[in-house]
């Protein structure tokens, strides 16, 4: 066995294929063996983090600290430090909440719905996307918590038996939110964790350090990779996918009820649930693209997270973006068609009123720019998709801004019309929430296998029971050898020696 084996990292580089056919439709490029996958992914959780990670982590952590400081400020002084007023009772905190919940849609959609639909390409991105989901939902949950006037009494929204013999008010969509978002978070967490178990076991087996192996052993739940384990695992995973699927659709529907159930023109709309879900998927996928484009570059995962994966996601962005755009136009049509002057005014005001700038930012970023993905060249271009995905996230933040704030600022009685202006605390907390998100995501990249190794291996050609019948000498090591080869110290050493960038360089 050659000890100087290199990992072809760039998929555009045709690598010699054992079967000799180039396998253009393969999900994993670069003719990697199972072992290569294990190495590629596991090493990042095992070796020392690169300087870039520390730098990014420092920035993200200061954002988190900013968030904590500003929330202390809010709790000490009151909601007045934000820009909220009368009539705009909900300002940026709720905009941010809906924004982050929306981001949190992609992960579970990728892992659950695409799993049920047997979309094998999901395997490369589902782990990171799910992690992103969890962190986004965490970032979302802080907003409704801290935006209330008396945060110390927030637990009154939970159905806890108490001396007042008081239930929460089950008619309120805010309460539905509490249930919807918390169960979504819980199921997503379990789903993510269950999917992690085989990979944690891999890490455990590779662990050199006593405590590391102990801790990983604890979290990998005694996984041995036995047939029975796999069978139970697959069942559990399937059931959880089934459980998570309706939640993906329900959570943002329920969030949309916060608006749709009210009487305010611009909120009181039946189109909201599907429109919000589409918007959430749209923004979630955009966030996944943003993160994956960076991650695959820095961590050298271009063979696993290939341009084909990104293209598929871009197609979903194109489709959902168009749905969202269609919803925008439908809203206008319905406002006109309803004949209700309040409704009509609300939409004219949206497009041409004092917040028209926000509306047109939203329209540009959500409806117009994603249309560029109709061109194959553009949707396979890394710089284009990176910029567009950021545009989508800006646009989706503004969509929530437009819905929340422009509807509230001018409603029924013109005497009560007002205007909302964000304060520095609004801006600081939004920035801080990104800090929290990236802090968590960087910790994830550092300590958890960022690609679902077991699942990726499952969709590789080698996993096909008939793989070896084609005559090629694709068999890893010949009969009698273990199917999964234990890590070879020398090879592992070689990988540990060089950073991902180095690997890339040497492959060209």
């Amino acid at each position: 066995m050659e000890t100087s084996k290199k990992l072809p990292a760039d998929p555009s580089e045709p690598a010699p294929s054992p079967s000799g056919d180039g396998a253009p439709d393969r999900l994993v490029k670069g003719d990697l063996s199972f072992h290569d996958i294990t190495e590629m992914v596991s090493r990042h959780a095992e070796k020392k983090a690169p300087m870039a990670w520390y730098a990014a982590f420092a920035v993200a952590l200061s954002g988190t600290l900013l968030l904590l400081g500003l929330f202390a400020h809010v709790v000490w002084n009151g909601i007045g430090v934000w820009g909220n007023n009368q009539p705009v009772g909900w300002g940026w905190p709720i905009v941010n909440f809906v924004f982050w919940v929306g981001i949190g849609h992609a992960g579970t959609l990728i892992s659950a719905i695409l799993y049920l639909f047997r979309q094998h390409w999901r395997t490369a991105i589902n782990r990171a996307a799910e992690a992103m989901t969890l962190f986004a939902v965490m970032c979302a949950l802080i907003w409704p918590t801290f935006h209330v006037g008396r945060v110390w009494a927030i637990y009154w929204t939970l159905p806890i038996p108490n001396q007042m013999a008081m239930w929460p008010q089950f008619k309120s969509p805010l309460l539905w939110d509490v249930f919807a978002v918390s169960s979504y978070f819980l199921v997503s967490l379990i789903f993510w964790y269950v999917g992690l178990v085989p990979d944690l076991a891999t890490l455990r087996d590779r662990a050199k350090n006593f405590w590391r192996s102990r801790i990983l052993a604890f979290f990998s739940l005694g996984w041995t990779g036995s047939n029975r384990h796999w069978r139970n695992y697959e069942k559990a995973y399937l059931l959880l996918a089934g459980l998570a699927t309706p939640l993906v659709l329900s959570v943002h529907s329920v969030v949309s009820f916060d608006f749709a159930v009210s009487v305010i023109p611009g909120w009181h709309t039946t189109i909201f649930p599907p429109y919000f879900v589409a918007g959430a998927i749209f923004s979630g996928f955009a966030m996944v693209v943003t993160l994956m484009v960076i991650t695959r570059e820095i961590y050298g995962l271009k063979n696993v997270i290939t341009i084909d994966h990104l293209e598929k996601m871009n197609i979903i962005i194109l489709v959902t973006g168009t749905i969202v755009g269609f919803a925008y136009i439908t809203e206008f049509f319905m406002a006109w068609y309803s004949g209700v002057q309040y409704e009509q005014y609300a939409f004219i005001n949206r497009a041409f009123g004092p917040y028209a700038w926000a509306y047109w930012i939203m329209m540009t970023c959500n409806l117009i720019t994603p249309q560029l993905f109709w061109f194959k060249k553009l949707r396979r271009s890394i710089p284009v998709m990176f910029v567009l995905s950021i545009f989508v996230n800006i646009g989706m933040w503004f969509e929530r801004f437009v819905i929340t704030i422009t509807s509230l600022h001018r409603d029924f009685l013109p005497s009560s019309w007002g205007y909302f202006t964000a304060t520095w605390v609004d801006i600081g907390t939004l920035v801080g929430s990104f800090g929290l998100f990236f802090t968590l995501f960087l910790l994830f990249l550092r300590f958890v296998p960022m690609v679902a190794m077991a699942e990726v291996k499952g969709v590789m050609p080698q996993a096909d029971p008939h793989f070896h019948e084609h005559g090629g000498n694709g068999h890893p090591e010949g009969d009698g050898e273990p199917y999964i080869k234990p890590a070879e110290p020398a090879l592992a050493e070689a990988y540990r020696g060089g950073g991902p960038e180095e690997t890339d360089d040497s492959s060209t």
Partner: protein
């Protein structure tokens, strides 16, 4: 080692020294039997002497637990009971005292509420012969002046502190040197007989006493001079506007709280405007005014005109009516038409026509108005002339000018300035401050350490009217006593009477003795009973002024108006602050101006054309107004003011208001908080006095607005020849309402009287197009409330095809449009009360209707049976005077948030007066004004209730929407979902920084809200509960109209009616049967318990026609 007593509980140590504890009176009166002396029976409880081990452990255990707990609670505050309970004070039960508020030289009869010795609320005295129950905003706000944290607390001499005794010896010294002393007294306008008596005493002591009454900004008391001009004596006109058919206001803002006889005028006017049904009649009000006022907004025809032109207009009117001659003047077609029609109307009305002249008009206009009234025959019907006993009146500013001159020439060596602030508000032309420095001894008596106090040698804190004895006459002359409700908050505070008496006699007598002594002469025997009666009633019967009999009025000649190119500036007391009396009153500072809705600022008001000419503008962006600031120069004196563009303002006229730009010396410490705490910025009581103060070096700090009083020419209220130059731009003006139009929405519904007679249910025509919901007949006919579901919509797309629930007979009885739409709702009580289509609300069976399901036996046990509260607001009689707003603030402990927070949209007032401009054509610069008080509508289907996640806002069984502050976590969802936007959120802890004095003004019956909770109008539920408890105690049902909300009680026109919908005797039930009744935004199916009665204008159709023809012509020629 601690030695603890071990006590045998069976044999308490009776010999131990210390008090004996007993529970029952029996056994203590001389019964020597030992057993009976044991107050605690064995086993009952342990006697409280010494401690057992068990007790010790219990106590220590509890103390430990408490010690831990104390750390996480609010600081401990002790509520102590009275050591000696004062007679008549029952905690929790308020006392009411009749007293009077001195106001611009008259006394306004009021009833003050006292809670455990703290006056907290002022109401009108309905029993008073002037006969008014309501109040103006000033009475309501005056209670906060008592608790003003910036009140002067101690005597000051030469800028240092002194004691009252020092002042007493100064006065005695003065008395001893009486012969050599030239004493002058500058005293606030007052009608007090006791002050008159004190004046006599002063004159007796000081031979050459100069006595000058002075009221800030009054100019030359034009009305009295005008009356003198007309009849030779300064008679006092009193109007019976209820009798009037045609009212013409020549710049008279008689519907504003500033006018002396406000209550009487407003009530009389409302009397003439009340419309029960189509048979009703209404008076017609023409207003010719040099501003936009509430009177103008209420009028049927309003003509903006420069103040300088109104005399000529009045003369033209008079000449047409055969009184005097009109000077040459060129009138526009519009003005000519107005003259023609007003004259025609006045002629027709005859003795039921009345012309009123305004305070900013010269005396000649007042005389002319009286001459017109006399010619119409109105003297005796619509106008009563009261003889105040005065024979001649000197123009006020002239008197002040004389005094100033003698001060300047050194003819005065002692000047008493009692209750006045001339350094602040005298015209600069008089050079009062300079003259003041010429006077050897100056004494100032004032509630605040204000501008004059800082300039005077002596400053004595003045008592508020709620802490002093005094007396006075109401507008009609009725004698009344001012009785205190509380001891002066500061020991040094004294009243005018006390100071004058001290100066005159050297005796430091109390106000009570002085007033009583004065009244002893007034009252017949037995004095004690009579005196008690006067104190109880607040007035003395039959002491009103006599009606004067007059000869033919002298008709003055009016000069043609001066050049109309010159910019005129009209000075007026501020509608909120008066001329400064309420400057330091945060309720008034934050009260939106009735027209402009501006808070915490004074502005130079002008029309759009004037602003264009001057090259200034007010831009509206991001929910606030940003105005250019101008420098207004008059005779070398300049002031900088932001500009305000007011639609309907006469071109070439600038209105400014007094009462701003105060520099009051603070008497309290400013608080400062850590940098992370925002209360430094949000606390209106922080730092300088509320209206603005001075720092140690005499510079203004936090001064609100600018003082325009020095610019006023002596003796005038109108100045011409002002120079205006732009200084800068972008000055933030905070308003509570930025949008002035209704955007074509049916919010305030109105019609002309003719339209109303033609279609009594006009309010329903202006319903927005309603989606076909398919509601049919409901209730009373076996319908389940949804029987109409699925009924196909009719062709009009507006109403409904007769649903299965529609009863046949209703369709027959219905007016045409009703039958067309097939609405079967409200088919109760016969056809004449039939509601036509469009009003979805009416389909819901109203609970006062006979066949409401609530009246079925099955429902009688339901909690919904019983009192059901409802309210109506009559937009026809509401004038937008703001009394309700301040009354609500005072009653409900509503907090004030300051200019910055208001500009962010965080004002807290629970009731607001929405003001909308309406014009025929878009962009018309002379719109009409509609005003609508909006508070919580108490929807039966409240959108706020269903969205609260913690059930903090819920519906009460008696039909009000309640807010549970304790339960609220502050999600603000209810506020978002309230279509009326009446909910107010506590963005900060507004009460955290409330000074102790202001805390005393809070109503103990109403919770003070904490930060982070929502609040809103409760319909004064605490008053409802108080009356219900009372009724329960007396074992009776609530009487109809027994409960009154604070806004209703304060409303001078009875526009607000509150009551029990389940009681057919209640006024509110009658009001709800008015055909003009509608519910705001009823298409949302919120079913508000508050209904509005649409406004009806009694326009002159001939004038309307002529005006539109003229407009068409003008357009055609253009």
């Amino acid at each position: 080692m601690i030695e603890l007593d071990v006590i045998d509980s069976d044999t308490p140590d009776r010999d131990a020294s210390g008090p004996t504890f007993w529970r029952h009176a029996t056994g203590t009166d001389g019964d020597d039997e030992g057993e009976d002396l044991i107050e605690f029976a064995p086993g009952d409880s342990e006697p409280p002497s010494g401690a057992s081990r068990r007790q010790f452990l219990q106590l220590m255990g509890a103390a430990m637990a408490m010690a831990g707990l104390a750390g996480c609670r609010r600081p401990e505050e002790k509520i102590l009971p009275y050591a000696e309970n004062p007679e008549t004070v029952m905690p929790g039960i308020a006392d009411y005292y009749a007293t009077g508020m001195p106001f611009r030289g008259i006394l306004r009869p009021v009833v003050a509420t006292s809670n455990e010795g703290r006056p907290t609320k002022i109401e009108g005295n309905g029993d008073h012969p002037t006969g008014q129950k309501g109040t103006s905003p000033y009475e309501q706000a005056s209670v906060l002046n008592l608790y003003d944290p910036d009140r002067s607390r101690s005597v000051r001499q030469d800028g240092g502190s002194a004691s009252w005794d020092d002042f007493v010896s100064f006065c005695r010294q003065l008395g001893n040197e009486a012969a050599q002393r030239q004493v002058a007294v500058l005293v606030e306008e007052t009608s007090s007989p006791t002050v008159q008596a004190m004046r006599q005493r002063m004159e007796d002591r000081f031979a050459n006493l100069q006595w000058v009454p002075y009221a800030a900004g009054e100019g030359r008391n034009a009305r009295r001079l005008g009356m003198q001009q007309a009849f030779g004596r300064p008679l006092r006109p009193r109007y019976a506007l209820g009798e009037a058919e045609v009212i013409v206001s020549l710049d008279a803002n008689f519907l504003d709280g500033r006018s002396r006889d406000f209550l009487h005028n407003t009530q009389g006017f409302a009397e003439g405007r009340r419309l029960e049904d189509v048979e009703g009649t209404m008076s017609r009000l023409y207003t010719i005014e040099s501003r936009y006022s509430t009177t103008g907004g209420t009028s049927d025809h309003r003509l903006p005109m420069r103040a300088g032109q109104i005399p000529a207009f009045a003369a033209a009117l008079a000449a047409e009516l055969g009184v005097g001659d009109a000077p040459e003047a060129s009138w526009s077609e519009k003005e000519r038409l107005h003259v023609r029609e007003i004259v025609r109307d006045l002629r027709e009305a005859g003795e039921n026509g009345v012309v009123l002249a305004g305070e900013s008009q010269p005396p000649a206009v007042h005389a002319l108005a009286m001459a017109i009234n006399q010619r119409l025959g109105g003297l005796g019907t619509t106008v009563t002339l009261l003889d105040t006993g005065a024979s001649e009146v000197q123009p006020q500013d002239e008197a002040l000018a004389d005094l100033t001159e003698s001060m300047a020439t050194g003819e005065v060596d002692t000047l008493f300035m009692l209750g006045v602030n001339p350094v602040y508000d005298a015209p600069s032309g008089l050079n009062f401050e300079e003259a003041l420095s010429n006077v050897q001894d100056t004494v100032h008596l004032g509630r605040l350490r204000n501008e004059t106090a800082q300039a005077a040698r002596w400053h004595i804190p003045r008592t508020h009217y709620l802490e002093q004895w005094g007396d006075g006459r109401a507008y009609d002359g009725t004698l009344s006593v001012i009785q205190p409700l509380i001891r002066p908050l500061y020991d040094d505070a004294h009243s005018i009477i006390e100071v004058l008496n001290l100066a005159a006699t050297g005796v430091d007598a109390g106000g009570h003795d002085l007033v009583r002594e004065q009244w002893r002469a007034q009252l017949s025997e037995p004095f004690r009973e009579q005196w008690r009666q006067v104190l109880h009633d607040g007035y003395l019967e039959d002491t009103g002024y006599d009606v004067a009999s007059v000869g033919e009025a002298t008709v003055p000649t009016v000069e043609a108006s001066s050049s109309s190119d010159e910019l005129e500036v009209v000075f007026r007391p501020d509608p909120k602050l008066l001329a400064g009396r309420f400057s330091n009153n945060p309720w008034m500072q934050e009260l939106p101006d009735p027209i402009t809705k501006i808070v915490w600022d004074n502005v130079a008001v002008m029309s759009q054309a004037t602003a264009d000419e001057l090259g200034v503008e007010v831009s509206r962006r991001e929910g606030s107004f940003y105005a250019d600031r101008v420098e207004l120069t008059l005779d070398g004196e300049a002031v900088e003011l932001p500009v305000w563009v007011q639609p309907g303002y006469p071109d070439g006229s600038i209105g400014v208001s007094m009462g701003y730009g105060r520099t009051i010396a603070s008497t309290r410490e400013s608080e400062s908080t850590p940098f992370w705490d925002t209360s430094d910025r949000t606390n209106i009581y922080n730092g300088a006095p509320i209206a603005g103060g001075v720092d140690a070096s005499g510079n203004g700090v936090d001064v609100i607005g600018a003082n325009v009083a020095p610019l006023r020419p002596t003796g005038e209220r109108v100045a011409t020849g002002a120079e205006v130059s732009k200084v800068d731009s972008g000055y933030l003006i905070a308003t509570t309402q930025e949008e002035g139009t209704m955007q074509g929405r049916p919010i305030v519904r109105w019609a002309t009287l003719d339209e109303f007679k033609e279609d009594p249910y006009f309010v329903n025509d202006t319903q927005p197009p309603v989606p076909d919901l398919g509601h049919g007949e409901e209730g009373g006919h076996g319908g389940d409330g949804h029987s109409g579901d699925g009924a196909p919509p009719d062709a009009s797309g507006h109403g409904l095809e007769a649903g299965p629930g529609t009863d046949a007979h209703a369709a027959e009885d219905m007016p045409e449009q009703t039958a067309e739409s097939g609405d079967g709702g409200a088919a109760h009580g016969g056809g004449e009360q039939q509601a036509p289509a469009g009003e979805r609300q009416r389909e819901y069976p109203m609970i006062w209707q006979e066949d409401h399901p609530g009246d079925q036996p099955a429902y009688k046990d339901n909690p919904y049976y019983g009192n059901q509260w409802g309210m109506t607001v009559d937009l026809n009689t509401c004038t937008g005077c703001n009394a309700c707003v301040v009354a609500c603030t005072s009653e409900n402990n509503v907090q004030v948030v300051g200019k910055d927070e208001v500009s962010k949209g965080r004002h807290m007032y629970w009731i607001r007066n929405d003001r909308y401009y309406v014009s025929e054509e878009e962009g018309d610069d002379d719109p009409e004004m509609l005003t609508q008080p909006v508070m919580c509508q108490h929807c039966e289907n409240a959108p706020c209730e269903s969205v609260c996640p913690v059930a903090a806002t819920v519906h009460s069984p008696d039909g009000t929407n309640q807010m549970v502050y304790n339960r609220c976590i502050g999600t603000r969802y209810c506020q978002n979902n309230c279509p009326y936007k009446v909910r107010r959120f506590n963005f900060y802890d507004w009460t955290k920084t409330l000074p102790t004095e202001v805390q005393m003004a809070q109503n103990p019956d109403v919770t003070v809200r904490t930060r982070g909770v929502m609040e809103k109008c409760t319909w004064c539920i605490h008053r409802v509960r108080k009356h219900q408890q009372q009724a329960d105690n007396e074992d009776r049902d609530l009487r109809p109209n027994e409960v009154e909300t604070a806004c209703q009680e304060a409303c001078p026109t009875d526009a607000i009616t509150f009551g029990d919908l389940n009681n057919p005797e209640s006024d509110v039930v009658k009001e709800k049967e008015n055909p003009r009744r509608y519910e705001l935004l009823s298409y949302l199916n919120t079913k508000p318990r508050l209904s509005y009665l649409g406004r009806v204008r009694n326009t002159n159709p001939r004038l309307e026609e002529a005006l539109s023809a003229e407009a068409d012509e003008a357009q055609a020629s253009a």
